[in-house]
Symmetry: C2
Subunit: 192 residues, 2 copies
């Protein structure tokens, strides 16, 4: 597990072996079964999480219990509720496993210390925050402006590797459309 | 104009008079008439912009020409397309004035130098990026999950001070609903 994370760091940074070793050794491994929660609404998000294997989803619920998905986090990416983590306030979102997943977790105090001591980790962290900002804007624009068909097409273009791994109701919950609408769109595509 | 910006910095940071003076003196004042563009799609966003007076909107257009608004930036806030600015790539969005506006602009080279030299400005900048991240997530969740009525109610709660300053078609373009739907919602509210 640690080896995969080290490979990720070597690919995305020019951190020294020593720093990589230090970052990796501060992590706690954790497994999640399918549908198991990593973060539950009203809890404080206490960990930075890196996904070694598997797939997580970050989602919120509305009053009637239905779920809307903000983000999918596959292997070699990170998941957290940044606002809850940064401010140490209860989260309004949940994070759960779509598939059996293997994770690395850092608690905030440990990760903050690493950020202070290792400027290049801080640079990576800022880069990730910026990218998340760019893609949130783009996604918001799509959510506001696109038809259901366009949303689905955008999804298949952006996440071709996730399509086969996701049950349809989770894709619908990510697009903010009903399962019925999604089924109709896919049916129409097949018959085109 | 500069005085207002200095007051903003004094309120939100504990920067020294000297640093505030240095940041302010690197800014270029600019006025925008109502509907005048600050950034046009396909241009590179070359400036960090602080709004002294007035109101800007950041928006994108879809193929049929209709406009969807990502953000309103009133006085005492900032506006830019972060992705275009950071990467120096053509923007997919536009920024225009909703009202006659007075702005301060910093070009990227100057602002980057200030960030390097003044750690507390960097801290403010990171804080603003984080906040923008939090509110994008919350807004995305509302866009995905809320009914048109809930979207409008959320808007009136979040931006009570903007309601009277915005023509209805711009509120509709921010909510991602049609002007007709918005008019119906407001009519129903008045008769409740």
């Amino acid at each position: 597990m640690i080896t995969r994370f080290e490979t990720y760091l070597r690919t995305h940074t020019s951190l020294s072996d020593e720093d990589i070793e230090r970052i990796a050794s501060a992590a706690m491994p954790r497994s999640l079964r399918r549908n198991e929660l990593l973060l539950q609404q009203d809890q404080v998000c206490r960990y930075k999480t890196f996904i070694i294997n598997g797939l997580l989803r970050t989602f919120g619920r509305v009053a009637d219990g239905s779920e809307y998905i903000l983000q999918f986090s596959p292997e070699n990416s990170w998941a957290l509720d940044a606002e809850s983590y940064d401010r140490e306030t209860p989260s309004v979102f949940n994070i759960a496993a779509v598939e059996q997943s293997e994770l690395l977790l850092w608690n905030k105090a440990d990760f903050d210390r690493l950020l202070t001591d290792i400027p290049e980790l801080q640079a990576l962290s800022r880069q990730l925050i910026s990218r998340s900002n760019y893609s949130s804007r783009q996604r918001l624009f799509t959510a506001l402006s696109a038809t259901s068909e366009e949303k689905y097409e955008d999804f298949t273009r952006t996440f071709p590797h996730l399509l086969a791994r996701l049950p349809l109701h989770l894709i619908a919950a990510y697009l903010g459309i009903s399962l019925k609408t999604l089924t109709r769109i896919r049916h129409a595509q097949l018959h085109r």
